[in-house]
Point group: C2
Chain length 113, copies 2
C-alpha cells in the first residue's frame, strides 16, 4: 500500500496523464489507477481533484449518458492541462533523480564496510 502522503501532488499529474491518453470519466480513472498499481483511490479523492482541475482550466468536462448506469462526466485535456502535465513530469523527474541519487549512496555504504 502506498501511504497517502506519498501520493500528494503525484495524483494530480497522474490523472492528467490518464486523461491525456484518452478522455475519460472519474470512475474509470480510479479503475485505471488501480490497474497501474496505485491501489484503490477513494472517490473522495478523485472527484474533488477533477473538479479542481476543471475549475483551473486544465481539463474540460462534458456530460454523456452511459449505456448502463448514471450519466458520465467525461474529461478531456486542454492546452493548459498539457502544459501542467509537462511541468509535473519535469518536477517528478527532478524528485526521483534526487531520491535515487540519495538512496544509491545509502546502498553503497552497505557494500563497502
Amino acid at each position: 500500500m502506498i501511504p497517502s502522503q506519498l501520493l500528494k501532488g503525484t495524483l494530480e499529474g497522474c490523472i492528467l496523464a490518464v486523461i491525456r491518453k484518452k478522455p475519460t470519466y472519474g470512475y474509470e480513472i480510479a479503475q485505471q489507477l488501480a490497474a497501474y498499481g496505485f491501489g484503490r483511490i477513494a472517490e473522495g479523492t478523485i472527484y474533488p481533484l477533477l473538479l479542481r482541475l476543471e475549475k483551473s482550466g486544465a481539463v474540460r468536462a462534458e456530460l454523456r449518458p452511459s449505456e448502463l448506469g448514471p450519466n458520465r462526466k467525461y474529461y478531456a485535456l486542454t492546452d493548459r492541462g498539457g502544459e501542467e502535465l509537462a511541468a509535473f513530469m519535469a518536477s517528478y523527474a527532478e524528485l526521483t533523480g534526487a531520491v535515487d541519487r540519495l538512496l544509491a549512496d545509502t546502498q553503497r555504504e552497505d557494500e563497502e564496510p
Copy 2:
C-alpha cells in the same frame, strides 16, 4: 524547483536515509538534501520533522558542541528507524513503479498515431 506537495512523505524517508549514511544534525541535513538536488528545504520543515522522528523513536538525538557556532543536535538511526526506512523504500518503489508504467503508456500514444 520541486513543488512542496510532491515532497510530502518523501522527505521523511529521505532524512532517514541521510541519517543512516552517517549520524548528523539538522543544518547539515538541509545542506546535503540541497546537494542531492532537493532544493532548499526550509528550517520550518527540517526541525519539526526531526522532532517528530525523535518522538516516534526512529532516531536518537545527542547534543554536541560545535567547533564553530552554536551546539549541534546529532541524530542517529535506531532499529525502529531502519525499519521505517525500509518501509519507505518499498512504498517509494511501489509508487515510482506505478507512475513510470503510466507515463510510459502516455509516451507510447505519441509514437503510434
